[in-house]
Amino acid sequence: MTELVRLTEITKVYQGGVTGALNGVSLTVEAGEFAAVMGPSGSGKSTLLNLVAGLDRPTSGSVEVAGSDLGRMGETALARFRRDRIGFVFQFFHLLPNLTVLENVLIPAQLKSRESAEAPGRKLLSQLGIEELADRYPARLSGGQQQRVAIARALINKPTLLLADEPTGALDTRSGDQVMELLAELHRAGQTILLVTHDAKLATRHALRVISVMDGRIVDDARLDTAERRPAEVIRLRGEEATR
């Protein structure tokens, strides 16, 4: 497998005691992985994701993504890197309210090229099961639909890496499950995904690797066994009582 992300001895210090600092984090992610970064709020997991996305810069240490050292990039190059390489899905969708679904999805493509991306945009909406929403405005959509639109927007430029920060945090269970199933489908199709969540059930549902962050440090990096187990190997029911 090809190494896609390499964080080396990352430290991030915030002035004024803001939570989310990182302290000596090193991490690699291979292309094709679906890894979850798990930790309580304020542990630094979102900071880690923002550094990988090039949305923030570390206080010290290096961030390399797809062979590029982000620390050596100026702001323009970094913006281009984010546009071309990174798809980012947030907890609160961040769709532009005065643009239609299709127009929202096409924004990153328009920033990248003057060529119309309408056809691939519509195809993407179709793949995500929301083609009929193309001409609607975000306010008319459910949370689950808005997140699908946000995922389509994140995918329009065929990112090398899809980053998702609590993507189901603002959704009900059913919509959240659907969004996670969608991410799992994307992973099966070869998409590298780095998911940030505080939810262990969510982290273990589709991700095959769970990186635990606590107080700005990686405290565990577990690769899960994917072997199918018989039900009796997973749950053992007992209703025993001792009698003489």
């Binding site: 262990a200 769970v210 606590m214 405290v219 577990a222 997973v234």
Partner: protein, 188 residues
């Protein structure tokens, strides 16, 4: 000084199997093998019952007047059992009771943790780390099992797995709390 209780020979009596058998016989008369197969199917394969256990349970239930044989032995010595009136009453009584009594903590980790605290002079991180991974793996396996149950239309079973998932999440949270407590130097 040891009491007699310390040396008592305890027999594990499987209460859920007993009432599971009564519950299945409440639907219709069955013979031993059918009871075994239906019990296992009801629990989605999470409990593989020994046929000997089923026969022993049926014999005890017959002895206690809770089930009775129907007719004579049929093909290959099969004997049908049906629920008696006292059996129905016992089943209804059991179903209507809340599960109270002590919390059951079957897993070794609870005792391991107490011993490790004494033997390792508080160096619990390796134990907690290994246990955390075990719980993460368990969560993954339970997620798969829940998915399969839903896919198969077994929503009753999915509810059971959901309970197990919540337990596993609580166990994981407990391990995380212990790790944090140890690593931040909080002691009693």
């Amino acid at each position: 000084m040891h009491t007699d209780d310390a040396y008592c020979v305890c027999v594990l009596r499987n209460v859920s199997l007993k009432f599971g058998v009564l519950g299945l016989l409440a639907e219709e008369p069955l013979h031993g093998y059918e009871v075994k197969n239906r019990f296992e199917a009801m629990l989605g394969g999470t409990w593989e019952v020994n046929i000997g256990q089923v026969y022993t349970t049926l014999q005890r239930l017959e002895r206690d007047g809770l089930v009775r044989p129907v007719g004579a032995r049929g093909d290959r010595g099969k004997l049908l059992y049906e629920l008696s009136k006292p059996g129905r009453d016992a089943l209804d009584g059991w179903l209507s009771q809340a599960d109270s009594g002590p919390q059951q903590l079957h897993e070794d980790i609870y005792v391991k943790l107490l011993l490790a605290t004494r033997l390792a002079n508080g160096a619990l991180n390796p134990l907690l780390g290994r246990q955390k991974r075990a719980y993460l793996q368990r969560l993954r396996d339970l997620n798969r099992l829940e998915d399969r149950a839903r896919h198969d239309g077994r929503h009753d079973l999915a509810r059971l797995v959901r309970g197990a998932l919540l337990h596993a999440e609580a166990d994981l949270k407990w391990i995380d709390e212990l790790s944090e407590e140890i690593n931040t130097g909080v002691t009693e």
